[in-house]
Subunit: 368 residues, 4 copies
């Protein structure tokens, strides 16, 4: 009989205590995986109820769980402090509001550069952009792939912003890991458990979008697949669910955001762009998400929204992003919170020069 054992140590207990736990495990079974989740040291192991009982009596151990269902590692119950996820120096979940902005898809060096400079100079804390695009139809633009990743990496370094980009399969995961500071799991892969496990094992922070047909409970269980690999750097991203209403593309479920802030210790980010799918509604929904308690926002911004190759209807121009940032800053201050800023120094002039040489000019990719 092989069952899962989750050993949560006391907040102040550290690797010494974990070592003791591991010692006990080694005596009767395989050693476990020591990791940090929700601000605590956790040992993930296998064994029977007898072993669990013995571990409960070990110094520094706060709780020993033997789950057969659910998502105990994702829940706040045993991790009351809340998780802070570090993405290339940007902290998500520390009380601030971090804006991650950029184009839905990387289309060309010129487009990405303009977008990156634009979002950085308006106060975004990280750069988003898709190189692998999971599209409903196989005939729609599927992204630039590896070339897009290289662009993201180069431009991200130039504007000194960490890069968040989507990974769509286990095959391309190592490649994405070389170029990004955070892995995005998209809504259509929200229950692709092989991919979740692999993303967990990569050790990179994971932005886990909610499946548009998934309950909050299933979403936390998906997060559990990442956490169980010993990767505590999971950020949940609400991006709209399916409902009967069709005046917006999806129904942005901010009630779930408020619920999650109580239910889970993981940071919660909101994507108002995909949530409503209409450019004019991004601003009010970005403000609403922040007011509901989100730790960050993921916003589609494009230097020329009308010509975007992907989800053009929801991309906002860079100046609209600027206006949103002004509102957000004021609103956060009024509520005793603040906007999270990028860690690194950067000035538009310098970086623009820096950008010029390493990147060859690329024409936009044709799609038809």
């Amino acid at each position: 009989v092989v069952a899962q054992i989750v050993v949560v140590l006391e907040p102040e207990a550290g690797y010494n205590n974990a070592g003791t736990v591991q010692g006990q495990l080694s005596a009767v079974s395989r050693p476990g995986l020591t990791c940090r989740i929700g601000g605590r040291t956790v040992v993930l192991a296998e064994g029977g109820e007898q072993l669990a009982e013995r571990l409960r009596a070990t110094a520094g151990v706060a709780a020993v769980l033997t789950p057969t269902a659910g998502a105990p590692l994702a829940q706040r119950e045993h991790f009351p402090e809340g998780t802070v996820v570090d993405v290339g120096g940007v902290r998500l979940g520390d009380g601030g509001l971090a804006v991650i902005a950029g184009p839905c898809a990387v289309e060309s060096a010129a487009q990405l550069r303009a977008a990156a400079v634009g979002v950085r100079s308006r106060g975004a804390a990280a750069l988003r952009g898709g190189a692998f695009k999971p599209r409903s139809s196989p005939y729609a633009f599927q992204g630039l792939g590896e070339a897009g990743l290289r662009l993201l990496s180069e431009v991200g370094q130039a504007v000194r912003l960490p890069v968040v980009t989507e990974v769509v399969d286990v095959e391309s995961l190592p490649l994405v890991c070389r170029h990004a500071q955070m892995l995005q799991i998209g809504t259509r892969n929200a229950q692709n458990f092989s991919l979740l496990r692999a993303a967990g094992a990569s050790g990179l922070p994971v932005l886990l979008k909610r499946g548009f047909g998934c309950t909050v409970e299933e979403w936390l269980q998906a997060a559990e697949y990442v956490l169980r690999e010993g990767n505590g750097a999971v950020v949940l991203c609400e991006r709209g669910i399916r409902s009967f209403e069709n005046s917006t593309r999806f129904t942005l479920d901010l009630g779930a955001v408020a619920a999650l802030k109580r239910l889970s210790h993981l940071p919660v980010v909101v994507d108002p762009s995909h949530g409503v799918g209409r450019r004019q509604l991004v601003r009010p929904m970005a403000l609403a998400a922040a007011a509901a308690g989100a730790d960050g926002l993921l916003i589609d911004a494009h230097p020329e929204p009308d010509s975007a190759l992907c989800d053009a209807a929801q991309a906002i121009p860079l100046d609209e992003l600027g206006a949103i940032m002004v509102d957000l800053r004021r609103m956060m201050t009024s509520l005793g919170r603040r906007l999270t800023t990028a860690r690194n120094e950067w000035s538009p002039t310098g970086s623009h020069t820096a950008l010029r040489s390493p990147l060859p000019a690329r024409a936009p990719v044709a799609v038809g």
Copy 2:
């Protein structure tokens, strides 16, 4: 052939021009109904396309519509200025944020009095409370009926707040009109067209809740039933829709609020209490609704939430309402808006005395 004709006058055109329109109507058909909708004078009539054509050429006429579907009176297209609804001196839709608070159901004089003094002293602009309660089960508490209405009226006057209460059928409409300053149409009657017509004809302002299974389009068409009676004082109230998610009671659709602010000229109010159905989530969702652009909030507040006879799980204590008001005030200011305050002077001490004599002490109604 009898078709509907909607004559919208120019903003500056007034009743003189309406008189000319009526004159033309009288010449060939029945006179129409002159009313004010969306800040404009409108004549609602019947007639054929020939008559419509003639009216289009009349002085002061901005548009003549001959709808056979849809909700032209509810849409912003012909009424760009936006509607301001006056509820006993409190203005909804003027840019401010009005909080309408009180118990879900009137239970007793003591309960209502405590609730009313509590919400008034914390800054609510109007008093809500149900006397006729449409409950899913016939065995659940159905409200105090007429006795509840009298209490609402008396207590509302005592704390000098206008009263918003639900009307559930045409039979009891005259009674409700005698005691309330605004008629609430509940989610289960959102497409009870006979009731909508009667509420429209009453002339009282109408708070029209969204049917929890209704699209935004159907909701505006429901509003159109009220408007077509010549009653321009319609306020839309988002209160959550049905979705597959069950961590909240309903899914509060704030995207619909943002969409409606562009689509319609009518004020939009949000009921976070019914929307999420969980006390702990009212505060973040109230803030989110305000940030999304709502003109007002409808909040269940109860002096003793745990013993509420109706929807106890979602009622917040009065002190939580106070904390929400503080946050809302700060947030609105930061966004260049303000909280709407009650029109009339009132002091807790004076009113408390005033309240004491006219109302007999009533024991809570038993339910089992």
Copy 3:
């Protein structure tokens, strides 16, 4: 303390035992309402737990319930035998499959007559048709009202079929009762509790459509409002719910039909026409509903579907109805069931003559 008491008598116990129950009630409270529900005699009363306890000891009493929520009268638990509802001689719920067909809306004498003769001659057991039409938009055709009712009554008698028609408010209920053999409560009034109570009190059989946003549980509670008036002749009608899918107008929930046949003792009818909203899909969904265990079908059939004033897209021509009836008859036989036929003798030739004189020819009502 006034609580609800439901006294269910043993199957074999009749009005004598009910008299004893009433006697006990009269001794301590108001007498109750004796009625027949689910094949049993039931007394609906008010009183406390002491009284309930005493009634439990009374001869012939099977169960005494004191509900404070839910829908005990609608559930099979205490009424295992199943209800048979008689609609003008047609029995719903006796194991057969009854087809109720006709136009969505009564448009003219000629149209209704052609439809009635058409559905009768093809084997329908009852005639449907709307005189009061609750339409989402106030500008859409609202039905012929009283004139439509008179037509229904006359044509129904001529073809010797009972008439099922919708009642939309308490005001017009007496009028509808004079002309129909069964009251339909539409999906938009599925939680109009005042109307449900009045329909219950009318004593006529009630066809209760499911609210398109209502759960099965809420639907049974709506039925309970009718049952509690002492009216056991309730038939549930599944007509599609709201979901995210939009290739059909609604999502026909046949799983709910199968679930209800176990959960409730009331007959269940399915409306495939509104459920899918597309003419070509009525046939497969009619067959599927019958196979799922439905006791009847409600089908929109029109002599000239393309020119129907209401829901033209879903109306089937009369010959398609004929083809469906052939399939249904074969399928029911194969499953050991049968098609329910109209009770009265009728021949197309005779009735056509009979029809000619009493009904004046009416031109279709104009709508634009």
Copy 4:
């Protein structure tokens, strides 16, 4: 400019004409992929509008499409004949009704053997069973993996039924292909486009379950990912969608089945077990699915349902499967259709003996 070109040949045109098309392609671009889809020869290529125009003039070419969205290969428009998919000799889509039955998860040799003998002897045409189980929680039983596949393969051969089993990632795809006659793509991977492409490239028939949050349109686009790899053997499987209703586990959308039979040329199968999630409702929903026009059924059947390690609530005992088969056979006959039977001869006695030796008895896998 590189665009997609789809060349559909006339029904009678064969590989000779395809050769001509390929010749034209080779002259100006890479050769295309010649394959059979919907009973027609299709060439999938890349090129511009000029090339498309030239191909339109080629002998035997019925249509040349240049899609930039949608799912042209999945739609009936260009493939009116309908697809028949051969799964180890069992034909899906030829007008018959094929029942694919077996346990949700392979648990042990004894369990699978009993299930396989049970479903075969009751008339199933193929054996289902999961070796890789994608479970919402990482702590739930995840399947026996490769050992389960080997069991499926051995037992399938013993009872002479083709095996349908789920593939959950690209890594394990070659392994699954070695043991199964048909690949199942589960609801959670319904938009895992990398997996869909790989399944397409495998050449094996694919059973594509609908994503529980996906529209019919998205489902067909998912099928298009498989078809575009030149694999025309795609079967769609409706298994219930998410809705607000919770008396069943999902909402089985039989309207989508009826709609798909017109919209697409691909066979459609229904999984009533997952659709309703309750054992008692499998029978009526299996009948309803067949009546709605399904080409097959996927049914969870287990020798000891109550002890099933996966989805026990919905597994039916083998005798219930037998009763369903009897009903289905009668019903199909009454509608002019028939039950599809397994191709190969088999007798319970013989195969049981054959089974005994090669498979070691395995104890059920423990999960706690």
